[in-house]
Amino acid sequence: MNRHAIWAIYRVEMARTMRTLLQSVVSPVISTSLYFVVFGAAIGSRISEIGGVSYGAFIVPGLIMLSLLTQSISNASFGIYFPKFVGTIFELLSAPVSYLEIVIAYVGAAATKSVAIGLIILATASLFVPLHIEHPIWMLCFLVLTAVTFSLFGFIIGIWAQSFEQLQLVPLLIVTPLTFLGGSFYSIDMLPGIWRTITLFNPVVYLISGFRWSFFGTADVSLGVSLGMTLAFLFACIAVVGWIFKTGYRLRT
């Protein structure tokens, strides 16, 4: 294990976060507050409880997931795309590092940042609504698992992307819609039959549902299914990353 290399990459990635601290931390806090004002206060006042949970509290896990997914993807994809773009990737490719070490460093840094942001949002949310977390350990597990999985996904996008447009494409066209339609702001039980069935093909539903269960002890789908789907997506991403490195796809000509 080239731990010096992992540490070197991790540090550089974290330093990048620190350079953009304002943007990294302040913007999720602001957007979360806005969501609370709009959804929690304005709309939530007209919606009664969902499954015994006040609407304001109900949307907290969904909001955290929303940021967690977008942050994980954007951090990890940018982290690997940028050296490709400016050409500094040559050093990484010529260094005595294994693929596993590269992934640990980049994905680890991206996941660290998004977990931190998730916790900041949680803290912000607790200023707006009284929160009680039923299963804190599970909550952290889901937080970390999701951050790692989507950082891996972002890493794949960063390697695949050949322009800044492509880098934005997947998050914009796929991830954001899936997250919004994944039950961030509502329970999928509230949807009419056919839509509910369609929704079950959305992987984000399982993430949000499992995460929400850790908060309130109730969920749209069972914990086992949530966990299983999250892990399945994680392993799918690991498989793709493995293939990328084996073939040198878009890294080595």
Binding site: H4, A5, W7, V12, V86, T88, S94, V97, R252, T253
Partner: protein
């Protein structure tokens, strides 16, 4: 921190040492049958064989698009080869990539640096990436050697092009490589930096580092290299000791058109290897660059003393450049 062990033991004295035991020295890089066909279908390298000796300065010469960067990139692990094998100090670059790569430092042709980091941070990063524990003293020393000390805490973006190149060299040296690749190190570099760079290259070679540089400038190869390889259209056209090459091919020829025809070369001029043309109308003096033979000035003095007068004089200088141009044209 000390240099890696092989640094201390390799170099010229080791060569003598191994010769005395009659053990042929293992080349530090051995490239055999390496080919490269890019995804576009372009065949950039055609079964290249090349061995780099331990401790030497090897110059790879070739015109644009010859395949120099491709070859270096394959050895360094940046480009996948289409065929052949490469070993670095006995380590296969695929199966034993860790050992192979940790011996190599690369200064690429293009200036690509982490723009938002400080100079010192980028050097520390490179060192870590190559698996070495932090060593502030060594990094400081490299910064001083490369005249980057004043800029150590400056962001790389704020540096000039020449300074950035120094940073790239510093990054390559930060992990104490035993082999240094310099891909066109003097492109866009002023005289001062070039001299600094060559001084540094010589120092590195003295400490046992093997250096492979590519260049378009023949004078550079002539000045720096122990051996010269010429590559063209993805093929190695020639590999030769530089002095040998200069001796074999690097002749100077001076022709003197005489005012009066001579029947024979005057005895007073017998110490010069002169040739008299058949018609007796011209004298040709051939000498090579390296030799200690009597110089042109004394020949001209002796000619005057012997009363031989000439109408015209011209010299032909077959430099490495000429050799190179001929080779490339004929290959």
């Amino acid at each position: 921190m000390t240099l890696p062990p092989a640094n201390r033991h390799s170099g010229p004295d080791k060569e003598i040492h191994s010769k005395s035991k009659a053990v042929p020295m293992q080349p530090i890089i051995s490239i055999s049958g390496v080919s490269k066909i890019y995804a576009s279908g372009f065949n950039a390298l055609k079964a290249v064989n090349l061995e780099i000796r331990r401790g030497e300065i090897f110059a790879l010469l070739g015109p644009n698009g010859a395949g120099k960067t491709t070859l270096i990139s394959i050895v360094c692990g940046i480009v996948n080869r289409s065929g052949g094998t490469v070993t670095v100090d006995g380590h296969d670059i695929s199966t034993d990539y860790r050992a192979a790569r940790s011996l190599i430092g690369l200064v690429p042709q293009e200036l690509t640096v982490e723009a938002f980091e400080t100079v010192r941070a980028t050097l520390n990063f490179s060192r870590g990436l190559f698996g070495k524990p932090p060593n502030p003293e060594l990094v400081d020393k490299i910064l001083k050697d490369l005249s980057l000390w004043d800029k150590r805490d400056a962001k790389v973006t704020t540096l000039s092009g020449g300074m950035k190149r120094r940073v790239m060299i510093g990054k390559a040296l930060a992990h104490e490589p035993q082999i240094l690749f310099l891909d066109e190190p003097t492109a866009g570099v002023d005289v001062e930096l070039r001299q600094d760079m060559w001084a540094m290259v010589r120092r590195l070679r003295e400490s046992g580092v093997t250096i492979i540089l590519t260049t378009h400038y023949i004078e550079e190869a002539e000045e720096m290299a122990d051996r010269v390889g010429v590559i063209n259209h993805g093929e190695i056209v020639l590999v030769e000791d530089k002095t040998e090459l200069m001796r074999k091919l690097g002749r100077k020829v001076m022709r003197l058109e005489l005012r009066q025809k001579l029947d024979a070369i005057p005895a007073a001029l017998s110490k010069y290897a002169l040739e008299l043309a058949k018609d007796g109308g011209s004298l040709t003096y051939t000498y090579d660059n390296q030799s200690e033979r009597p110089g042109v000035a004394s020949l001209l003095r002796d000619l005057e003393a012997a009363g031989v007068q000439f109408r015209d004089l011209d010299t032909e200088n077959s430099s490495l450049e000429e050799i190179f141009v001929n080779l490339v044209r004929h290959s």
